[in-house]
Symmetry: C2
């Protein structure tokens, strides 16, 4: 199995707390017409509750009411998240729990990720392809560990039209078993290696309790790469290359910091030789989150699917056959979960903040200072100037929306673009025109600035890059501040409760991890805790590549009950 | 429903003859390991049967045997098709009938289509998005005609993990019912119009007898566009714009000629206001093939899903409510069937011919004249020259493969690239080096030419465009030569039997079409016919936009039993 949103198994999922109220939300479909209409009307009529929305005072006559995010991110993250993704036009619920509509706002981000990643893997010789969504049961069962890992979450098709199928078909939860029969046929000689295929598709994993949009859904979008190599060394090199590309998507595109590492044996994919991983961090709840994984599968699947070549390096006498070698395989996956991580990391009480590089609209230009007294001619002149500003920016590679919507006040438009996370707003009114300048407002910071009109072609793209950089820097600082080096068990749970992930000396055995998970759940007596912080136990997130220092001889494992010595530094945390 | 590969209904499908032997092919998966291995060995050992393969004589020591296409295209199209797509590395069968593996060779073509079409629809303001693959039964049933049209071919998920689902879920056959509940919620005012969404996804249609790779499969890839407009006029304009884009994909990218037209009422999608269509032609069997459709759905779905706005153009008194308008909707779809049409139109007895604009490898450079006597130094020198040629071409936007594979003769490589349809081969040996030239061989024509090395940067890209142009011209001539204007019933069936599609004066009623279909099936006594030509009845393919001439007052319908006068020219044909 390649990396997935529910990769690390059921245990973790069952521990999830604060289930988002997702499934309680009104589905957008399958309602009788009348009720749908009523709901629609209610939505429009509903008053904003909770916090006062800034800049929403001056309502225009006949202007639809904009209902902002009504809870603060720090107060109720799951409610904030749900409102933010829906009001920010990223996602919509359906009447099928755990299956979501990816609106253009989020799908466009996925397309930017696809473009970025495709360019990189093409250079590595990886080719895109497509394998069927249905896998026969016989095929799925071929690899026992694999089947066990997925049996609980496979959706089965049993009927076609009005006929019951003779043999039920699995909707792919991942494509190892769909693909490796083909690999066995395709790879006849060492000349056919390496074989590097990737597909962008949808997969379905049915069995879990609390779906959460983007983060953990029953259907999700991803890419799954599957490659076969002659040697372990070559396979290992690729595993790391891919992990670097994944990190680049997070850090360079989504402005989200990640920690690179390897999974402990307990957390690696069953059947994998080893699993490398990116671990992210959600500050609002102080939880870690698995961001993407790249596995070396070793020769395990090759043995099950009989994927072999003759050893090209073996010296044999004439007529003698060379030994048969099992190929070394990798699989690696990156999912739409990444969009959820991006939202959780950057968003604020006003809604989304989209990093400029993946923002479909990078700059919204809003006309201001147009009043009832403005003549048609003056307004037209202003709009023409705005159009020219928009055109100049577009010529310089900036994605712009000139917001000429009628019947909406500037205040409404400001809030609307803020909620949607557009990274930069330009305001332009008669006063700006007089001074030959634009007024800018960054989504990631308070306050306004001005830029001379003559400089916008150079300055706006630069400013967008600054925003991108600052967003990453801010998130990185936050993550660094909450990644604590802990040497004593007494500091373990208190640090979790202070929303940290922690790096500890550890023996690297599974039993000890399980014990720590058990012992770190629940609250600590006498310590004041955030009631919204999850009290689940901590699990090992990864063995960070960057080990803080050498583990000295005789160093104790962090777990006081453990008598094995510490072998390495392991990052633990409460986790999604 | 948007346009589909099985769009024109079950009736047509049941008439299909000569089912490809697809499902009899050895599946690549779900076999016990031993058998898979035996099959693999057999494949390698099998001798080519049937026709002698050209240029395959000089086999190199230890070189794997290349087994070319063993039947001619004109002799046995379905066997030719199956061999061509498999040996050309475009597709592979699986153990799930009707579900196929799209290898990189074909998937890359799909990506070129995606890039081309995305660029065009983005300019029209269409946004990409993603809706779930599962549709609740309640939702699917909401539009009765729609449900009836699909009931026979819906695949149902009834089990999740080890649990039976309370309510079964449809795997989307198309997404109207998945999307339009969302449209009802999203469209609250005329300001929200037009709403233009598109998705690239996989759909499943289960119930039909004879799947054929690309042409008619149970799972296929497509894009489905769904838009909502304030007026019929605006919707109608878009329907035609999209049809033009579809025609451009066929003609400008795939070099496949199509005829634009409108479906008769009999053949249009049930529930659509009207359906526009592209009709292609497969010369080898003289059958028409529906290439893509763009529907105006009218207000039918809007009424079922309650998608309304207040009429912005209605004058009302203060306090009075404006009338509610149902929106006008379109849906339009383009599928992976197009790749099958491309293969059927262009391929020849050597295998695939891929048009340069969608060829992943446009030029294969094969070293020649390297013998046992060639020194290592000389060979290295030659290879370096080839690398420089490759680099020069790549710098000029040409997609190149320098074929340095060891252990294969030039003859083997020639055949291999021919089978894979690479549009241009460059041969380069010591003699070419001496003369400072490359030898070229076009895939679409016999014979070789030379180009001075100094000219390749300009000449090769030009030559590729010439090949693209010539392929389209050849296919266009062939289609034009087999599109016959027929005025008398006595010429109807004989012309079908001569592999023509025919344009006839027609009354444009459904009953008359049915009668023609019945009366045109089977062979005509006394006439010599191609035994491989299908004897199915002819159906109306489209009302061509280009009407050959005005229908005179009192012109009879082509059907002698019909007493209604002819209203228009209609294209009829045997069809996929």
């Amino acid at each position: 199995m390649a990396s997935t949103s529910s990769d690390s198994g059921m245990a973790a999922l069952k521990l999830t707390e604060d289930p988002p109220k997702a499934e309680g939300a009104a589905p957008v479909a399958a309602k009788p017409d009348k009720k749908a209409k009523e709901r629609k009307d209610q939505k429009v009529a509903a008053k904003p509750k909770g916090e006062k929305q800034p800049q929403q005072a001056k309502k225009k006559m006949g202007e639809p009411e904009l209902i902002g995010i009504t809870v603060s991110k720090s107060e109720d993250l799951s409610e904030w998240y749900q409102q933010t993704i829906i009001k920010g036009d990223l996602l919509e619920f359906t009447d099928v729990p755990g299956c979501y509509i990816y609106q253009p706002g989020s799908y466009r981000i996925w397309e930017y990720i696809q473009e970025f990643f495709n360019a990189r893997i093409r250079k590595m010789g990886v080719k895109n392809c497509y394998f069927p969504i249905f896998i026969s049961e016989a095929n799925l069962q071929r690899e026992k560990d694999h089947l066990e890992g997925f049996a609980a979450e496979v959706a089965w098709v049993t009927e076609g039209g009005k006929t019951k199928l003779e043999k039920r078909l699995a909707v792919r939860p991942t494509s190892e078993t769909a693909m490796y029969g083909f690999y066995s046929k395709k790879i006849r000689s060492h000349r056919d290696l390496p074989l590097k295929l990737n597909q962008w598709n949808n997969v379905v994993r049915w069995e879990f309790k609390h779906p959460m949009p983007f983060i953990r859904s029953r259907e999700f979008l991803w890419q799954e790469g599957h490659t076969a190599h002659l040697t372990e060394e070559e396979a290992g090199k690729e595993v790391r290359q891919i992990l670097d590309h994944y990190a680049a998507i997070y850090e360079d595109l989504l402005a989200v910091p990640v920690v690179k590492g390897k999974k402990t044996v307990n957390e690696q994919f069953a059947g994998a030789h080893y699993t490398t991983t990116l671990e992210g961090y959600i500050p609002a709840v102080g939880r870690g989150i698995q961001a993407a994984t790249s596995h070396c599968l070793g020769q395990h699947f090759a043995k099950m699917f009989d994927i072999t070549v003759e050893d090209p390096n073996q010296q044999v006498k004439e007529g003698e056959k060379r030994e048969k070698l099992y190929v070394w395989q990798n699989s690696w996956g990156f999912t739409t979960r990444s969009i959820g991580v991006m939202i959780l990391v950057h968003g604020d009480d006003k809604g989304l903040i989209i990093p400029p590089r993946v923002a479909d609209i990078q700059v919204a230009i809003v006309p201001v200072g147009v009043t009832a007294k403005t003549t048609d001619a003056d307004r037209e002149k202003l709009y023409d100037e705005i159009k020219r500003i928009g055109a100049t920016l577009e010529e310089n590679g900036v994605r712009v929306d000139c917001d000429f919507r009628e019947g909406y006040s500037p205040g409404y438009k400001f809030n609307d673009w803020e909620m949607k996370g557009v990274p930069l707003r330009i305001e332009f009114g008669p006063k700006d025109s007089e001074k030959s300048q634009v007024t800018t407002s960054r989504r990631d910071q308070e306050g306004k600035s001005t830029i001379p009109l003559s400089d916008i072609a150079a300055e706006i793209p630069k400013l967008l890059e600054t925003i991108q950089h600052d967003m990453f820097a801010k998130a990185s600082e936050e993550y660094a501040a909450h990644r604590k080096l802990i040497r004593e068990w007494k500091d373990f749970v208190p640090n979790l409760n202070q929303k940290n992930v922690i790096i500890v000396p550890h023996c690297a055995t599974g039993e000890c991890e399980d014990e720590i998970k058990k012992d770190s759940s629940g609250q600590v007596e006498g310590q004041e805790v955030d009631v919204r912080a999850p009290s689940m136990g901590a699990k090992s997130l990864c063995i960070p590549d960057e080990q803080p220092e050498e583990i000295g001889e005789g160093t104790h494992c962090i777990n006081p009950k453990c008598e094995k010595g510490a072998k390495m530094w392991v990052m633990f945390g409460r986790s999604y």
